[in-house]
Amino acid sequence: MKKYLSVFRIRFIHSFQYRAAALAGVATQFAWGFMEILAFRAFYASDPAAFPMEFHELVSYIWLQQAFLAVTALWFFDADIFEAISSGGVAYELARPMNLYFMWFAKNCGTRLSRALLRCVPVLAVAFALPKPWGVSLPPDFMTFVCFLISMALAFFVVVALVMLVYVITLRSISPLGPRYFLGAISELLAGATIPLPFFPDKLRAIVELLPFASGQNAPLRIYSGNLAGAEMAQAMLMQLFWAIALTAGGMLWLRASEKKLVVQGG
C-alpha cells in the first residue's frame, strides 16, 4: 500500500509545480462556465416550462463541473503512460515488484487530484461570490452535502477506472488513437458533460443512466443541488458503487491477462 501512496504523492507534488498554468486554466474555465450558463439562460427564457431542472440547479451543475473538471474529465490522460507503452518503457515498470494496475491507478489519481485542488478553490470562490441567479447556491441540507462528497469520490474512481481501460487497450494494440477518440468524444456526451443528462430525450436518458459514463460527473453534480434526491439518489449512488467495483475488477483482470501475452519488441 505504501509504495502506491508514494507514487500518488510524487505525481501530486509534480503537478503542483504548474501553478501559473493553473491560474490561466482557471480564467479559461471561468469564462467557459459563464458562456455555458448564458446559453442555457437563453433556452430557459424561450420556454421555462420545458426546462427539466431548476435554473439554480443548472447553474450549480455548471460551476461544479468547471471546478472539478480534472476529477471528472474522461479525455484527460497521463501522456507518460502512453509514452511508456509505445517506447517499451513499460518493461521496466513490469520488472518492479508492484502491481501495474495499482501503480497506474495511483499515478492518475495523483495528477488529477492536484490539478483539481489547484483549480477548484479559485473557481468555487468566485462562483460562490456571484449574485443570486449566477452563482453556486448551497446544497439544500447537510446530509445532501455529505452524499455529494461520497458520490464525488465514487465518481472519481469510476472515471479513473474507465480511463485505465484505455491504457489496457493501448497496451494490447499499441495505437491509442481509436479508443482515445471514442472515450474522448462520445463518452463526454453520455457522461453529461456536453449537456446535463436531464436535457436528453426521456427514452434515451433512461438507457444512458444505466451506462458507466453516467456514474461519473452526472451523479455528484446533480446530487449537490438536490436535483437527484431520495430513492433516485440512492439508486444513482448504488449504480456508482457497482460500476466502480466492476470497472476496477474488470480492468485489473484484463491487464493481468494482457501482461501474460505482452511481447516487448527488441531493446
Binding site: 498554468a21 490561466a24 448564458l38 437563453a42 424561450s46 477518440y181
Partner: protein, 258 residues
C-alpha cells in the same frame, strides 16, 4: 505563393504515407464535433426555438463556424502548434532562410486530418441550406461565401495571436482557447443568444460576430440594415493588430538555444 503550394503538396504526400492512422485521426476529429451537434439536437427536441431562432437556422450558424474553424485549424496549424516550434529550435532554422517566416510557419505544418470536421460541417450545410427557409439568391450566396472566407481568416488571426504570445511566454497560454475552441463551441448559437454585452464583445474586440451573427441575420432576412451583408470583410481589420503583434514577437524573439 508557388512555394506555399509546394509545401502543401509535400505535406499531403507525407501524411498519406500512414493512411490508416490518417483516417482514424480524421474520424476522431469528426466525432468530437458530433457530440456538440447531438447536444444542440437534443436541446432543440425539447425547446424548438432559442431567442427566436429555429433548429435549422441555428444549424446554418453551427456549420458556418465549424467550417471556418476546421479550415483555419488545417491550414493555420503552424501557428496553433507554435510553442513546440519555439521550444525545439525549429524556428531558429526558419529565420536563417531567405523567405518570409510566417509563410514558412504555415507551410511546414498543415494538418489535413482536421478536415474531418470540415466534412462534417459540409454535411450539416447540405441538410440546413435547403431546410432553413432562406430564399437563396445570388447576393445571399455571396454573403455566405464571404462569411466562410472571412471567418477562416479571423480564426487564423486568433492562432497568430496565440503564436505571437508564445514569443513572450515560450509556453502556450491556455487562455486564448476561450476564443479559438470557445469560438467554435459557443459559435454554435448566434452570439445574440448570450446577451447584449457578449455580443458587443464579439463585435468590437474579437470580431467573431461580424462573420457569424450580422450577415446571418441578413441571410434570414431579419437584418435591420442591408449593409449587414458587408460586415464580414470588416472583420478582416482584426488581422492588422494580429500582424503587428506577430512582427513585435519576431523582433522580441530570443532563441531557446537547443
Amino acid at each position: 505563393m508557388r512555394l506555399y503550394f509546394k509545401y502543401l503538396g509535400i505535406q499531403l504526400r507525407c501524411q498519406m504515407q500512414h493512411k490508416g492512422s490518417f483516417f482514424l485521426n480524421m474520424i476522431g476529429q469528426a466525432l468530437t464535433s458530433l457530440t456538440t451537434f447531438l447536444g444542440v439536437y437534443f436541446m432543440f427536441l425539447r425547446f424548438h426555438t432559442v431567442a427566436g431562432f429555429t433548429f435549422e437556422e441555428v444549424l446554418l450558424c453551427f456549420a458556418t463556424v465549424l467550417l471556418c474553424f476546421s479550415a483555419a485549424e488545417c491550414f493555420g496549424r503552424g501557428f496553433d502548434a507554435f510553442s513546440r516550434m519555439l521550444g525545439n529550435g525549429q524556428f531558429d532554422r526558419i529565420l536563417v532562410r531567405p523567405r518570409n517566416e510566417a509563410l514558412q510557419v504555415l507551410g511546414t505544418n498543415v494538418d489535413f486530418t482536421r478536415l474531418g470536421r470540415f466534412l462534417e460541417a459540409l454535411a450539416v450545410f447540405a441538410y440546413a441550406i435547403p431546410k432553413c427557409g432562406v430564399a437563396w439568391t445570388w447576393d445571399k450566396a455571396a454573403t455566405l461565401l464571404m462569411m466562410l472566407v472571412c471567418g477562416t481568416a479571423v480564426f487564423i488571426g486568433l492562432f497568430v495571436v496565440y503564436a505571437s504570445l508564445c514569443f513572450f511566454t515560450t509556453e502556450g497560454l491556455e487562455f486564448i482557447n476561450i476564443f479559438t475552441d470557445g469560438g467554435r463551441e459557443f459559435g454554435r448559437y448566434p452570439f445574440s443568444v448570450y446577451g447584449g454585452r457578449v455580443l458587443k464583445f464579439f463585435t468590437f474586440v474579437v470580431p467573431l460576430a461580424l462573420f457569424q451573427y450580422y450577415p446571418f441575420l441578413y441571410l434570414l432576412g431579419r437584418a435591420q440594415h442591408w449593409w449587414y451583408c458587408l460586415l464580414p470583410p470588416i472583420s478582416l481589420l482584426f488581422l492588422i493588430p494580429c500582424r503587428f503583434l506577430w512582427k513585435l514577437g519576431v523582433r522580441h524573439f530570443r532563441s531557446t538555444g537547443s
